[in-house]
Symmetry: C2
Subunit: 418 residues, 2 copies
């Protein structure tokens, strides 16, 4: 999620299609076609093009149960939008279909006025298979936390240590819950995917998404890592994107609800929403879900959640997320606190309860994850775009210049066409 | 599955209930309450009482998709059978409910004439949660193989190496497919759970169910282990229970169908049967399902499969398994080849296509797995019993003296009561 420079163009989506290349094909797959966890090869490009659609085959996971009821109806009304034209931030004309290929989409679903108008799968993704959402996960954690705040189970003004006393001596000891929710804590932790010494790799070893070397001295579970976090700067001053905040928030949710994050998501959102398939989180060595990046869902279920939020929390015939919670997220936070972070593709944006708010002319807001994951909600155009991808570059700076103009152009076309 | 002597009685089911003891409770669980994979502690008793209901949270897995259709109806007609009386093989009177507790049942479901008359959950199991079937898995592999034989895709008389040429120099090089299916191969491989030097532990390291030490020289995937198997004795002479046969059979199924075992099971059985939940296999480092012991299902879905077999392959309004395949399994194999193996609790039994045939007065046959897993099909009583457990002793010799008389007594009562 860093703003690191984009390297020169690697192999294209077509050239790295895992189906075409035969990744993990064959019984057993030939040595050259294997994508494996233990040697850390799975997160290389193009191996990750298979891996992000198959996280469960690589690491331990827990289910987010869809419940015993049936799936909610997501009515279809196919529209030919593949040719929708936009101009990228660097001035290149591009169709919607070209945007998908250029940004290594594994799947994209567009919902307009509650109807699925466009759904495409590429690479290793299938309609019934979950794909990892990476930090899209955070928006689920943030929404659950905001729901518990609305119920009075979490006090946003309380010190974090009121909910999780063990964090008293960490950087979070004097942080408030709302500062964790909106990521305005001052932390020494760094999140730079291109730097192997960045703290984000310690987090990934702790949360189960990177192998732990034999004599490793770092934290080997999420909670232990959180307890070790050190403060740097002041809390509450400015937005700084650091995943450990979300993992703290996930623990606050667990302690406040008495439930595992996976069960909380299932009970509050997944089952009421009528998800088609179970989702899953990858877990650390002691069963803790990665609340900051570990959720895998099907594309359509991600779209359902987007529709739930767009409809002010109402979906599948019931109020799933309180309307006040959805409205507060849509309204966003103070752009002045967001600006210093320097996200050049998101001018005037803000970050609220683990959602990215564009404050653009349509009031669009987003869930975003590394390697191109995203949920884009455009209230004015009554449009939701769910997108999973396996981009060679982690940071969204590699996607935004192409995807964001395409989304806005499509939104405007849909408004014009009615 | 060995006939090793049963040690003196460990703590009871009530004393080791994972819910009561708080295994993996808390966020995060306290150090004393953790069940972990990397240190191999998960397979100790009583940790395994939590682990067998939560395999997916410990190791990588692949889904067996239930399909987009709804679950098949399993009508309920609750009957009070908990007090059903039997006499154990060592002469103790016992009720059905006492049998469940004494054999550490995690769940038991009894279907009579197509109706679910009794369903109970204990320990860490829940109706919607899959529990590992251990070697119950084999009967699924064997049934799929027999289906492919019926379709002419597998030749039971062909050498194994016709289907899997890489096995030519292994013990399986001069074995026939039917010898692998019925486990009459002559192999050096040993399967003694109480002996840490037994080959079964090499298999478990290879198939992903035991941690691999840093400098391990053994096979680190299932296929590599199969290729290393050495012959001992003659093929075709006698039954000898060795899981590597099933893993070879699973590869024969994959090569003959062109499908992963998980996809084959989903397409041929799980979806047509109208399973309620996805099942899953644990996989090795290169994505190969453990066809010999890695399948986890819900209890009710296991019962559905039992009903499918009892109804000669017909269930959910369709012929799922060819009637000829079901009949051949029910008929069994030559008890003379089974007798030398010395299963004292199964006198006169046989082993056919990875199923255990009792040849008792009701013609009952079974899928069986270590630590007390089982699917018991009694054609005469029109009764199916699905059972998952977490017994402290691996071998079924610890269950059979109690469970088998209880099953027969219940069957006779159901016949008498009509």
């Amino acid at each position: 999620m860093s703003d690191a420079p984009v390297p020169s163009r690697p192999a294209t989506a077509a050239e790295t299609d895992p189906e075409t290349l035969g990744w993990m094909k064959g019984f057993p797959p030939a040595p050259d076609n294997r994508v494996q966890f233990h040697d850390d090869s799975f997160r290389n490009f193009p191996e990750l093009r298979w891996a992000w659609s198959n996280v469960r085959a690589l690491v331990p996971t827990v289910n987010v149960w869809r419940g015993a009821g049936g799936a909610s109806v997501l009515p279809r009304a196919e529209r030919d939008i593949g040719g929708s034209q936009s101009i990228t931030m660097d001035g290149r004309p591009m169709t919607f279909a070209e945007m998908c290929a250029e940004t290594y989409a594994d799947g994209i679903a567009v919902v307009h006025k509650g109807k699925l108008i466009h759904e495409r799968y590429f690479g290793a993704l299938k309609p019934h298979k979950p794909h990892i959402g990476m930090s899209v996960t955070k928006s689920f954690t943030g929404t659950l936390a905001a729901m518990l705040v609305a119920e009075g189970k979490i006090d946003p003004q309380a010190p974090v240590s009121d909910h999780v006393p063990e964090l008293k001596d960490s950087a979070f000891g004097d942080a408030r819950v709302h500062e964790v929710m909106d990521m305005t804590t001052g932390l020494k932790y760094t999140e730079v995917y291109t730097d192997q010494n960045s703290d984000v790799w310690s987090l990934r070893r702790a949360n189960g998404m990177a192998p732990i070397p034999p004599d490793y001295q770092g934290a080997t579970d999420i909670f232990a890592l959180l307890c070790r976090q050190e403060k740097q700067g002041e809390h509450g001053r400015a937005f700084a994107y650091k995943t450990v905040n979300t993992d703290v928030l996930a623990f606050i949710c667990r302690r406040a609800s008495g439930m595992a994050l996976s069960d909380l998501l299932a009970e509050r959102i997944w089952a009421p929403m009528g998800a088609e398939e179970d989702a899953h989180y990858h877990v650390d060595r002691i069963g803790t879900e990665s609340g900051g990046g570990g959720l895998s869902t099907t594309l359509r279920d991600l779209a359902r959640f987007g529709e739930t939020m767009r409809n002010h929390g109402y979906f599948n015939g019931r109020q799933i997320v309180p309307a006040s919670v959805a409205a507060e997220i849509e309204r966003g936070a103070d752009p002045a606190k967001f600006k210093p972070a320097g996200y050049t593709t998101l001018p005037g944006g803000s970050y609220k309860s683990q959602w990215w708010i564009t404050h653009n002319e349509h009031g669009a807001y987003m869930a975003r994850g590394v390697y191109g994951q995203g949920l884009y909600i455009d209230p004015k155009a009554e449009m939701v775009i769910a997108r999973y991808a396996s981009h060679p570059v982690a940071g969204n700076a590699a996607n935004d210049p192409v995807t964001l103009p395409a989304y806005m152009a499509l939104a405007k076309q849909l408004i014009a066409d009615g």
